[in-house]
């Protein structure tokens, strides 16, 4: 089987059209970011506290909001997390501009709102030790003896309960306890009567104070900046400065488009988003380098041919590789986008878009710019000689 056999597409002929289209797209992306939508920053960069909470049943968002706003700590945003039937929410509190343990206060507020009684053992919030100690204290199996002996007796039961919670995410009520293997009948009855299941369990908490937020912002800016410079230097070193310029212009183009898409879709900028952008930078150059490598090879063979023709041939010769590799990488990234889950979704989104844009820009931006830079330099050389 074979795609793109002996193609001879005049990629370079319409180079100014493509550059024009891309410039327009870039301007649109920048305008979108600057004038209209800006970015949604995640807690990593904006600071704040974000909880991932799983509810037993579809939660009343109004109540969640009320509970959190009663803390008077700042703006509250609530988002559905993952598939709706999982009843998971991402609740976020804007940072009140100071350091502190806000996740604990948020959980407390939700606990007060959704869980009537506040005493007793909280099966969906507390850990193995707490469950064990509560059982040892109440001693439903009437083991008696020392505290240590009772604890030892109830330890496996507590482990079983926590293991069950780990599997299902939230224990919805006494019926769930039937599935915990090591639990004795008396202990089950005791927990069914006096333990508190509550309406929610906490899946994750992220809290970033202003100091760390600023650190992360600085680091992200440095990482992106330096990796662009790194690429330029590498290609300059391996090829020529003109090619380096072409590759880096293409890169900047890719990053701007990706940022525009992030702004448009309102997806949050987080550390993992920056990771995806940096990967995109690496990938885009990777693709460009393949074409440049072929150009370098052809230049030696095609002495006397015009550079533009050599470049066009190189693109055509590498076309099937370009399409196959990009296609296969795109395939795995799509798998990641679909199956990878919510946590990694924005990451996959950036790469999914980035691979298409990166492949496009290698052919339609990087190479034409490298050509333009080379031509410009040739002309200057000629002009100097004439003088």
């Amino acid at each position: 089987m074979r795609f793109f056999h002996r193609t001879n597409v005049p990629f370079m002929k319409y180079r100014w059209h493509w550059i024009g289209i891309s410039t327009a797209l870039n301007i649109i992306a920048i305008l979108l970011i600057v004038l209209f939508r800006g970015f949604t920053y995640g807690v990593d960069f904006a600071g704040g506290t974000q909880l991932t909470v799983k509810f037993k049943t579809s939660p009343d968002l109004g109540r969640v909001r009320r509970a959190l706003e009663s803390l008077k700590l700042g703006e509250v945003t609530i988002q559905r997390f993952d598939e709706p039937e999982r009843n998971e929410l991402l609740v976020r509190l804007q940072n009140p501009g100071e350091e502190g343990d806000f996740s604990a206060r948020m959980i407390e507020a939700l606990d007060k709102e959704f869980n009537a009684s506040t005493s007793a053992i909280r099966l969906n919030l507390q850990g193995v030790d707490a469950v064990r100690d509560a059982l040892a204290q109440a001693d439903p199996d009437t083991v008696g003896g020392t505290a240590e002996a009772r604890r030892a007796h109830y330890q496996p039961m507590a482990n079983a309960i926590l293991e069950l919670r780990k599997q299902v995410g939230i224990l919805s009520g006494p019926a769930d306890l039937e599935r915990a293997k090591d639990l004795s009948g008396a202990a089950k009855r005791y927990l069914a009567d006096s333990a508190r299941f509550g309406e929610f369990s906490m899946l994750a908490a992220d809290s970033v104070g202003p100091t760390v937020g600023k650190d992360l912002r600085d680091k992200a800016a440095y990482a992106v900046g330096f990796s662009l410079i790194g690429m330029l230097v590498y290609i300059w070193f391996r090829f020529q400065l003109e090619y380096g310029v072409g590759a880096v212009v293409a890169l900047i183009h890719d990053v701007i488009i990706a940022l525009g898409a992030l702004s448009l879709t309102g997806r949050p900028i987080e550390i993992s988003t920056i990771a995806a952008l940096l990967t995109l930078v690496g990938y885009s150059v990777n693709d460009t380098v393949i074409i440049f490598d072929r150009i370098r090879e052809r230049i030696k063979l095609d002495r006397g041919k015009r550079l533009i023709e050599t470049m066009n041939e190189a693109i055509n010769q590498t076309l099937s590789r370009t399409v196959i590799t990009s296609g296969l990488t795109e395939l795995v990234v799509i798998a990641l986008f679909i199956f990878g889950g919510e946590v990694i979704n924005t990451f996959a989104f950036v790469l999914m878009l980035g691979i298409v844009v990166g492949t496009y820009s290698s052919i339609f931006i990087a190479t034409p710019i490298a050509l333009a830079a080379s031509t410009w330099r040739e002309r200057r050389k000629l002009a100097k000689r004439r003088r």
Partner: protein, 518 residues
């Protein structure tokens, strides 16, 4: 090829080593906090607290000695901004006595004399005090975590200097409790009670609205017999403690006379002597048990007590347990602020693993099928290289004890996509060479040779950006940079070296090769 045997031997050894290192994967692959659940905290030791305590201590000593000599200071006051204090001695204080006290007691201070004395903590001492506070804090937190019993905790200072501590506790299932446990200063003091009242104003009515110099006001909860908080009481206490947490020998959870959870403690010999001499002289009066500047209880002294005591008041079994733990582990020299928290519950981590594997397998299967259809037997060759790549990647991760995180899984998946690139480059090149009439052997040779520079250059660019990512990254992202880098390095080995060996092995079996399944 003559050295084919050796190449296969090398491939065999590497494969066996990788399998040995990674098997069984659930034990050998080190999972990050985001996959196995746990808590990552960055906290700041408020070192200024320790500096203030140092200043207070010196101030207290100077005041005490002046009073002892019979010339109590007219005024003595801390200067918040400059880590020092200001002292106005009584006008009749003999110069000699004052000088001696200042020289003896204020070695660590720069002292300037005028109408009043100004003492500023020396900058190098300030630095040392701060550094010490962080180191003690680190030690104390480590003690507490050890006693709590968390497997494989990471507790370290961020950077060599600086006041931040990173705490990583895998598998913790009750983050609220552990955060409280770490943060609680657990500074225990026992102080004589001067008077008590239900509000601050009535408390100070007897002293003319002013807190006496040697005293302080602290709040405490009033509880009923079942331990419920029913009100608040204010205590006027002597500032100087009888004993502090430093005099503790041990602390454990026990019960009070009503069967409610409480914490009992015992004192070391020095503490016991101080405590006995104080209690025997103050029978009938009250002493306050103060924890982190809150009065937990204020029992009446019924007789001389030497080496043990009990702290009562509104404990649950768990909180009594935790308090005895932090008392045993020692007090923090300064308060702590949380700067960053990342908690992942175990169920989310498990979910992430399942989804990551599903995504990875889907992508892998799609690629394997495509390669078979598009390149036929050569595709099979590439697929062997690809699977070997995955195996070697896991082996390398296990060997280097690298941490697999959720972005790390994404890195593995991405590596699968990018690793196949090298094969595609080579195969496309071989096809080109065949097309211009080269023999199969020559085409394979040239294909590998000519594709090499493109493979190396293109992988290096991705590795460069991964290195920047590693430099920048926090835990999970570092995991991504690591898997991507290792994966790409390995892909150069599998796609170039292993694939080549397979081609050579197949081609060397036949004398004349006229066609290649590609």
């Amino acid at each position: 090829m003559r050295n084919l045997k050796w190449r296969w031997l090398l491939i065999g050894v590497v494969t066996a080593a990788a399998a040995y290192f990674m098997w069984p994967p659930e034990k050998k692959i080190h999972l990050g906090l985001d996959l196995k659940g746990g808590i990552h905290l960055v906290l700041q030791v408020n070192t200024q607290d320790a500096v203030r305590a140092e200043v207070d201590d010196a101030m207290e000593r100077v005041r005490g000695e002046l009073a002892e000599k019979g010339f109590p200071a007219v005024a003595i006051q801390r200067m918040e901004e400059s880590n020092g204090f200001r002292l106005k001695p009584a006008t009749n204080t003999p110069e000699k006595d004052l000088n001696q006290i200042l020289d003896d007691r204020l070695v660590d201070f720069n002292v300037s004399r005028g109408v009043e004395v100004q003492a500023i903590l020396k900058p190098e001492v300030t630095r040392a005090v701060k550094d010490m506070a962080v180191r003690q804090g680190l030690e104390t937190i480590r003690n507490r975590i050890d006693q709590f019993g968390v497997a494989e905790p990471v507790i370290q200072r961020q950077g060599l200097e600086g006041d931040r501590i990173v705490v990583q506790l895998p598998g913790v299932d009750d983050p609220a409790r552990i955060k409280e446990l770490i943060r609680s200063t657990a500074f225990l003091e026992i102080k004589p009670v001067v008077s008590t009242a239900p509000s601050e104003d009535t408390l100070l009515a007897s002293t003319g609205g002013q807190v006496p110099e040697d005293s302080e006001v602290l709040p405490g909860d009033i509880e009923d017999l079942e331990g419920r908080v029913v009100g608040r009481e204010y205590y006027l206490l002597k500032k100087a403690s009888v004993v502090t947490g430093r005099d503790l020998r041990n602390a454990r959870r026990s019960q009070d006379q009503y069967g409610q959870p409480a914490v009992s403690f015992s004192l070391n010999p020095a503490g016991a002597t101080k405590f006995e001499s104080f209690t025997s002289g103050h029978i009938g009066t009250r002493m306050a048990i103060v924890l982190d500047n809150r009065v937990r209880s204020a029992p009446v002294i019924r007789g001389a007590i030497s080496d043990s005591g009990i702290i009562e008041g509104n404990f649950s079994v768990q909180s009594a347990e935790d308090l005895s733990l932090v008392l045993r582990a020692g007090a923090l020299p300064a308060s702590i602020t949380y700067l960053e928290e990342r908690t992942v519950g175990p169920s989310l981590g498990r979910d992430s693993i399942v989804r990551g594997i599903r995504a990875g397998l889907t992508g892998l299967i799609a690629i394997v099928i495509f390669m078979l259809v598009y390149y036929r037997l050569s595709g099979l060759n590439a697929n062997v290289a690809l699977l070997l790549n995955a195996l070697l990647l896991m082996g390398a991760m296990a060997m280097f004890k690298a941490t697999l995180t959720l972005p790390g899984i994404a890195g593995v998946i991405l590596t699968i996509g990018m690793a196949v690139d090298a094969n595609v480059l080579i195969f496309e090149r071989i096809r080109e060479e065949l097309e211009i009439g080269k023999t199969v052997r020559a085409a394979v040779d040239l294909g590998f040779q000519r594709a090499l520079s493109a493979i190396v250059d293109s992988n290096l660019t991705t590795i460069i950006s991964a290195l920047f990512l590693f430099q920048f990254g926090t835990g999970p992202i570092k995991g991504f940079a690591v898997t991507l880098t290792i994966g790409l390095v390995i892909s150069m080995f599998t796609a170039v070296f292993v694939s080549r060996a397979i081609f050579d092995a197949v081609l060397s079996r036949r004398a004349r090769v006229t066609s290649l399944s590609i």
